[in-house]
Each structure stands twice: as C-alpha cells, then as structure tokens.
Point group: C2
Chain length 217, copies 2
C-alpha cells in the first residue's frame, strides 16, 4: 500500500473515528459515500477527509465517491487491526475489569495473555477466563515471554514502582492509565496515555468558560 513519508499524528488520531463512522454506515446498508457527505455526518470538512485518505493512496473514484466497505477495510489495515499483539494487563480494579470485560481487544489489534494484581484477595481468582497472577511474578513473566505491550491500570505510585521492572523486562509499548510519565523517563518506548483526570479538568475549564464567557476567575 502506498504511504506518504510522514503521516502526522493529527491524521492518525482521526483514523479510528473514520473507522467508527464507516462501520456505522456499513451496518446501516450504505455502500457508497462522498467526502462531502461523510464530512457533514462527522462535522468535519470534505477537504480534510480527502487529504487524510490520500496520505495512504487514492481509495475513491471521481464522480462516485468512496466504497464504504472497501474504505472500512482499508482503514482497518492502515491501523493494523488484523494484528494480534499479545499484551498483559496490570491492575485488576474496576478500570482493569472494564477493559478486560467490555472491550473487544481482538478487533483492536491485541489479545490479553496475562493479568496481574498485587492484592492477595484478587491474585488466583479468575477474571475474563484468565487466572490473575501475582505482580511479584511479573519480572519472571517478562523474561520468559515475548510480550512487549502492557495495559497499565494502576495508580501512579504502583506504576512508578513497576516502571523499571517493565522496561528491563523488554516492555516497550504502554497503554497507560496512570499519571506516571513513561515517555519522559524512557526514551525508546511508545506510550498512549489515557488521563481521565486531565480530560475531566478540561471539561471543567470548558464549562466555566461557557458559564462565564471571556473571563477566568
């Protein structure tokens, strides 16, 4: 597949949203869509949509538009969702369980191969068809497996304690819910942060802005 040299993060972060909208269209039986139509539905611009898709080559046809099913598949391929990156998840609290039980990881390019927790009451129990391991065995597990991805569903302090073990164990890909900053500490890791606090603070700002226009107090 053709691919522009430098795809910007802005484009990449829009791909999952395109994917979602195309899935919807597909499910509701729509087989073709123009950039203008799609832009209207998504609240973006036709120009941007065409620009984005053309980073990876021309998938459309003049006078016709884009084939919904084809485009959906193409974006899935670009994102690499057919892959199956083995991942481990640490922290079997509510958040960890939400990920384990309510996300379709295989359709997102991952498969969970191990769960860890520190709580003796949780270690040894079954969650999502797997037995939760003791986080004390994490180092061994990292050494003996080829897993490179971790979903980190623990508080900041736990994350800071685990960081070195994970890095030394060869983990390079982090889906990080903690407030621990991996990217600044390890130069060669790839981190995707989900900071619920940050998101909520941003909402707070925007609400205040909405209620008291043009003045910060």
């Amino acid at each position: 597949m053709y691919k522009k040299d430098n795809i910007s993060m802005s484009v990449i972060r829009r791909l999952p949203r395109y994917y979602r909208f195309l899935q919807e269209l597909k499910n509701s039986g729509v087989t073709r869509i123009s950039s203008r139509d799609l832009a209207e539905r998504m609240g973006s611009s036709a120009s941007q949509i065409r620009q984005d898709f053309n980073c990876f080559g021309g998938f459309g046809q003049q006078g016709y538009g884009y084939d919904v099913g084809f485009l959906y598949d193409v974006i899935g391929k670009i994102l690499g969702l057919q892959e199956c990156h083995p991942a481990m998840l640490i922290g079997i609290g509510n958040l960890g369980r939400a990920v384990i039980n309510h996300m379709s990881l295989p359709s997102l390019g991952f498969s969970l191969v191990a769960l860890f927790d520190i709580d003796p009451d949780v270690v040894g129990t079954e969650v999502g068809g797997m037995i939760v391991r003791d986080v004390a065995t994490l180092e061994d597990f990292c050494r003996d497996s080829d897993v490179e991805t971790v979903f980190l569903c623990v508080p900041r302090e736990s994350a800071s304690q685990l960081a070195d073990v994970l890095y030394k164990g060869g983990i390079r890909y982090f889906w990080n819910f903690s407030h621990y900053d991996f990217a600044t500490r390890y130069p060669d890791v790839i981190v995707e942060n989900v900071h619920l606090n940050d998101s909520l603070m941003t909402l707070c700002y925007r609400i205040n802005e909405d209620k008291h226009p043009s003045h910060v107090e």
Copy 2:
C-alpha cells in the same frame, strides 16, 4: 485575572499536565522553577511553557522563574477546579465504578449528586455512598434538578437511547465514554470524549509503525 482573547485548545489541554507536574514539584519541596527546568522535566520547550502561561498573564519573575506553589494555585484557578459542578453518572458498570470510587471529583471541579443504571440488580444498591436510581426516573430527575453535567459510562446503544432525554432535560455538559457522537447531533452542548477504543487503535498503529518502519500493510 488577565486573559488573552482566544486561548487555543492546545494550550488548555496542556494545563492539566502542568498542574500535575507542579503538584509533584510542590510535594517534593521544590519552591521555584524556571521554564527551562520545567521544560526539561516535562519533555517540552521553555518557550512553549512561557507562551502558555502568558496567555493568562505573567506569573513569573525575571531572573527568578516561577513560584511553584503560586503557579500551581493559579493553574487550578484557570481550570476552575475550585468549582463544584453537580454531575450525575449513568452506567454503574466497571467503568462507572472506577470513576465513582477512584477519582477525587471534588478536586477536579465536580461533585456526583446522582447515579443511574438500567439493571434491576444494581438499581437500589449503594455505590460510593449513594443509592443507584432507575434510569427510568432520569427524565423526572432532570426536570426537578439543576444538574447540567453527565458522566456517561454506558455503551453506544444506551447512549443513543438516552441522548434526547438528557438534552431535553437540560443537560449540556457531557463526559462521554460511549461511542455515541453528541457534538454532531446537538449543536450547543460541550462534550469531552474519552474513547478507549480510539486510543487503543492509535497504539496499535504506532506499534505496527515501530515494528515495520515506513510501510503500512
């Protein structure tokens, strides 16, 4: 407080991160910091930090830098975290429970005043010191209360069913974990989305990119 006319979202979304780093500095007893120091710790640039802060007025002092405690407080004020926006949360699953039990909402500008779920086994139970209400009573609750904010921890389908009830009930601020798109459907609402799927797909892309440089398959 002074404030530039148009603060860009890029700046706003960096504020919570500044806030977090400043809190750390404060906790470890650091009382002053220069933009250069802070930039180094955060992996950003001194120039950007100064530019960002100066959107809201000059909080630093030449030859000295920034007072950590003061700056921390100022950013808290800018974000409006001293506010206490009443919010309701819908969807008492793992995700909802994670928010209820593990986030310090009062320090993020919110307070939970009502919980809703659709599951008869959950309705009536106590979670986080509150009794879970039946989502069937949502419409009444919206009418009788002045809550304008909802934390939506339900799947897409439930969100689409609730959307109109919420909007008609006067809800205008959404912290949205579902894949339902409020912003494109209601013009005058403020939505802060947390899309776990999108985040994970992005990680998948970046992993593939890392493993097979410069070629998408």
